[in-house]
């Protein structure tokens, strides 16, 4: 199979493994917390679970987007023939990634501030915001636009979250981990831009660090939910 030099099979393999690992940890967090949510019906736990469910789905849809973008640089005939369909589906895939990841970020932040800022019908509000970001991503056809909008959203939410933070609560580094998850996600979107390709070593370091954050979250979950 002739491969265009732009397509790096090692990068593709690392991206696939990375996505799978993140997806597995997200689903583990989601399913492991099912019982304590069923018992307590606690709103914070509910949104925490949703955040990881949607992060998992966002990572899964991101790898599809990745394949679509980089299929352009593959000379393999069957893929090249399917390229037209891929390129037509690209905006749709962009829309899905934007929608799922925006919801994930909103749910993660809201899970920590819902007590201080209980928004009625938050599910509807968050879906409207996510839909707006998704439509912008669909029209623009660029994953970078998603990361810029989400970055703005994230900064606003962090400022708000810091203001609303209860001073007497013990520090657990959970918020720092949440912010890292969101930042790694945004970097993941930037990496999708073929113009801004990272060297393999940098990419691997970044992926390992990102997995480390998810492992840390899972470890904390496992400590309480055995």
């Amino acid at each position: 199979m002739p491969i265009n030099p732009m397509f790096n099979p090692t990068v593709f393999a690392s991206e696939t493994i990375y996505t799978l690992v993140i997806l597995i940890f997200c689903m583990l967090v989601y399913f492991k917390t099912k019982e304590i949510y069923d018992l307590s019906k606690h709103k914070g736990i509910q949104f925490f679970r949703y955040a990881f469910l949607f992060f998992g789905l966002a990572y899964a849809s991101r790898i599809i987007l990745y394949v679509m973008i980089f299929s352009e640089s593959i000379s393999f005939e069957p893929i090249r023939r399917g390229k037209t369909i891929f390129m037509q589906l690209l905006p749709v895939s962009n829309l899905v990634v934007a929608y799922l990841s925006t919801l994930a970020i909103l749910y993660l932040i809201y899970s920590t501030i819902w007590k201080k800022m209980d928004i009625e019908h938050f599910l509807i509000v968050s879906n409207i915001v996510a839909l707006f970001v998704a439509v912008v991503a669909f029209v623009s056809r660029s994953p970078s636009i998603i990361s810029i909008i989400q970055l703005v959203l994230l900064v606003v939410l962090i400022i708000f979250s810091t203001k609303k933070k209860e001073k007497d609560k013990k520090k657990t580094h959970a918020r720092a981990l949440y912010i890292l998850i969101a930042i790694f996600w945004l970097l993941n979107l930037l990496v999708l831009n073929p113009v801004r390709r990272l060297p393999l070593q940098v990419l691997l370091f970044f992926q390992i660090a990102s997995i480390g954050v998810f492992v840390a979250i899972y470890y904390k979950v496992h400590k309480w939910v055995k």
Binding site: T33, E35, I36, D38, L39, S40, K41, H42, G44, I45, F47, F48, S111, T112, K169, K170, T172, A174, R175, K220, V221, K223, W224, V225, K226
Partner: protein, 94 residues
């Protein structure tokens, strides 16, 4: 069993509610439960309905046709997991 007061969090009220039932050999009539829970009648009814709908407790009738309340398996699980639920909420600042 600590006295119930209005400032307690919802999860703690539920815990105390279920604990009263458990401490009474898993069988208590509604009136003593209301008294021991130290909740207003309205709050008591709300919690009672909520716990019934969540299947943490169930209403039974004895041989004389009198109502009494018992914990379900889910209710026992709640008591068992309560500390972990609180720990989890604190750990993740939820």
């Amino acid at each position: 069993m600590g006295k119930m007061n209005k400032k307690r969090e919802r999860l703690e009220v539920i815990y105390d509610f279920l604990k009263i039932i458990q401490d009474n050999h898993n069988s208590i009539k509604p009136t003593p439960l209301l008294r021991k829970s130290n909740l207003s009648s309205q709050s008591f009814s709300e919690y009672f309905e909520e716990l019934l709908s969540k299947e943490l407790i169930k209403e039974m009738k004895n041989g004389k046709g009198r109502k009494y309340i018992t914990l379900t398996d889910k209710g026992f699980r709640y008591l068992e997991k309560y500390k972990y639920i609180l720990g989890f909420i604190d750990e993740f600042e939820l």
